[in-house]
Amino acid sequence: MVTKEKIFRAELDKVNDYEQTVNAILAFAAFVVHDGTSQRPNSQFGFGRRMEISPNNLKTPSSEITPDLVAQKSKRYGIVAEAKKSLDQNQSNWIQHVEQLRKYDDDLKGWWTENEKIDKSDAVMLIHQSRGRLFRDFLENRKKEDTDSVGPNTSIIEFNESPETEPYYFFRIEFGNIQDSELMRNIYEGKQVPLEKVKISFSNIQYYDAKPPLPLLLIRLWTDYFPSKLDEGEYDEQKKAMKIQANVYDVTDELQKAFGSQALYKDERSGEFPKQKWIKEAFDELLRADAKIIHHL
């Protein structure tokens, strides 16, 4: 029987998965662009960055992709990655992820270099440890069936949030190789990135290029955005509530500045998140719930 408790638990799990994915991407980006003491020269990273596929791409030539993470270690090397905290139970739905990786394993354009190209790059599936091996097996089987289905520079890196006294994100390569020898050495043995360091460096980043679970946006609106606007509101005696005005465009813009894409490095290729349509959905949900903000005096 589906109880309220179970529904609540399932929603909370989705929220946790999303937040862990954001943290894992940030931690992995830090691993690529940071040498442990300072940011590497000519390094940069972006979420949902618009990259151009080469004309020779086997899947969709000359189109655009938006990987979850594009991390450039130097002017000569970078990583594009897709992140997955969980995967569909049905393995036949995993083919789309393999195809996506195949698109990323290409001579992409859009790097932070003069001609936007880079000498070497790898396409990485950043996947939670619980699914890492299964996905590796799946990828290997696909490769056996069709050698072109997996690119030459594709790898799987698994991650895990370690519940130690000082929690950290752990990364280890499960499939393929990383062309950069320094990163490969670290990622082969396994690399720990403390969560605390991620929070210190990127305390406000809450979203990436994937749609967050609705409760996460609703919590942000209800516990942060709307209360912060109470000063501008008018008290409605009849409804015993504060009336505040909010519109999807302004909310999107402010959440992007505070917690999303505009809080990271920004140029014309940068992704935009949270997206307007996500915020609109959250507003629609609030309207469905006939929301009222009660001003506690």
Partner: protein, 380 residues
Amino acid sequence: MYRLSTPQEEREFEVFIEALFKQDNPIKVRNELYRLNVPAPYRLRIKVLYSQVSVEDVIDSLVGKGRLLRFKGESRSYLLKTMIGKRNPVEVSIPFYIESFDKNGLHENVQAIIAICKTNQWNALRRLSKNSYPKLVPILLSQAELIQSARRLKKVTGHSVNVRALSAKESFNGEKGTFKKSVRVWTDEELEKALLSIQDRRQILTSIDIEFFHVIGDQTHVRPTAICKIRKNGEIEVTGSYKLAFDAVATQIAEVGASKLRFFAGRGLRLSQYKPRPLAVNFSQPVFQKAAAIRQFVQILSKYPHSMHAVEHGNPYAHVKLTDIYDGSSFDVWAISPSRIALMPGLKASEAAFERLVDYIFDRFREGQIADYGYEGKNL
């Protein structure tokens, strides 16, 4: 010190006090306060307050709305007419005056309310300021700040400083766990000795009564120049010299409070142009090594008064979203490291809300050192 013994004497004294505050010039008011001997059950009371603009402006905005009027003239003097008592309510008139710390270089966003009144009258004045929160923000002193301030008083005044009494909370182990009890301790110890004993007994101070003795050479006066009861909420109850109490004690509280609230100010993401300015509460010893401590911290946060909360993680680390319902400030509170709490401001995070949250954590969980959250963050 004498005591008024009849209602008639009390009425006459209250008329006299009203006349004192009614004077049209603040210098005259100040000089009379310096000369005045306040008889029991009345006390000269000071409350140091903070406001984003000026405390006087906030009080002025209340004039005419309720039962508050401002006396004519240049003095910042007011009269609050209100009812006190639940069973047999009585209307009382409480005159009070606002004093600045401008000669100490403090802006008018830190000022003090001065009144000469009985405890129940003072409570009515407290309600006035409490109902104006967060426009009027009390200065909430931590244990460390209270102790540092007390230590500094010795240097500032050149007086011998003794602790006469203290109120504190003390932990004790009962059958069903650890509990806290309130204690009132009477003593006559030199300040440093008293502070050591507070440390030894792990007491959490709520107020401390300090006596100031005039010293010439090696000789100490037998009677104190002033006795000040200093509360953690920035209130001082004075017996004896108002000048000493205001210039030394109130000024010290104002400086500590102003510095702390300035440190908390401008950290909301909207005000900081979306550049995060999180704060840390650092502990000298690891406190989150066991899951029980994380659970206890989350439980404490979930009982934060006048707030909404969402617990996103309770194990192996804590992440709680808190919204201060008083003014809509919000925070993401993290306990990731064993010896640190991170307070990440949301879109709005007023200095008042920061102060209230930090004070609550210090009071209910434990005290730490406030600093910028980062590798080499600046300490408060």
